[in-house]
Symmetry: C2
Subunit: 200 residues, 2 copies
Amino acid sequence: MEEKPYLTPKQEKVLNFIRKRVGERLPPTIREIGEELGFKSTGTVRDYLKALIQKGLVRRMNNKSRAIELTERASFKIPIIGTIMAGKPNLAYEEIQGYVDADDLFLGRLGFDDVFALRVKGDSMIDAGILDGDVAIIKKRPNADNNDIVAALLDNNEVTLKRLRNRAGKFHLEAANANYPPIFEEFKVIGKLITVIRKY
Amino acid sequence: MEEKPYLTPKQEKVLNFIRKRVGERLPPTIREIGEELGFKSTGTVRDYLKALIQKGLVRRMNNKSRAIELTERASFKIPIIGTIMAGKPNLAYEEIQGYVDADDLFLGRLGFDDVFALRVKGDSMIDAGILDGDVAIIKKRPNADNNDIVAALLDNNEVTLKRLRNRAGKFHLEAANANYPPIFEEFKVIGKLITVIRKY
DNA sequence: TGACAAACCACACAAATGTGTGGTATATCT
DNA sequence: AGATATACCACACATTTGTGTGGTTTGTCA
């Protein structure tokens, strides 16, 4: 796990407010931070920012409004929790095992240009844990490796999500469901599955 | 499908620049837009913003720096493709069936405060399409409904992901795997599964 | 005791940023 | 021909926002 720089409770509050605002798409101004946290002087806020910058959690650009950026270390993370002490009504900080970087988890630094989504229909990939209604995020590629799950274009102009198999140099497609036979007909790989998302 | 408001090429360029900057986390100022697009007057940019606002693509707050927001209509969307015409080497626009809003899909407007993640261990939910290594996004809640998949705190202080069942008013937990017996011991619901994400 | 950091405030000033008025030119539609 | 929309510019001004200086108080550590 990562070591966290020590933050005073107040510094943590400031950081969290920045996180919240960054997540909401508009980083705060110095005065907005002050207002939220109850500081009457902009100098106070600047002291906090200075501290956060020194601790490597925040970056800033000079003379630019709202130009507060979270560094890697501080960027928005969703806590991953493990075991929790009994008796505590809420999830306490101490029990957090680590963090997933939200940006990373959800999209990461993919060029959006070569990514598209397929909404999965049917149960042909059910044994691979891909269910009807899931959204499959595909990265465009003209080829893939053995065992990769790919989006492929079939002769009937349909796109299907299947596992790519290489049998003695010859590629074919396989469903992840015994009820569906393998596909040996002509197809073209249009992309590779990189992420599956399911909403409940 | 959605109808797109007609945009002039220049308006489109302005919108795209805003999109880019919003994606990079800091919406542009009016002058930054002008600089990028080669406009020498802030008035010009304001004209464009006015047009985009009128077409429902952009929202603004008065007297706030960088307070440009993309509306639902304009916010980043990943194309969902369906069938594709054969012979075309690339995925063409026409074949796009619709869009998933990236923000919405990946996180949406959840209060970050009450969301956490569990990395799934083991195969106890495999029949629900939740595999070892998947990330389960949980929204904190003290209760849930019958058949919801929940994160529950057991007596041994472990958190587990299981399906909540209500049998004659009495709740218990069930795995989605015949190899795991239902859990009738004491537990506390700490949250409800809202999203599953799997990276390949 | 002295040094230092955390945690504040007031206030002046500079720079960035948004607003508003009033233009020009070109093309299209009626 | 007149109305309307697009596509610009200049420039003054108001407001917001960032910067900088110089404080006070409280507690901790050596």
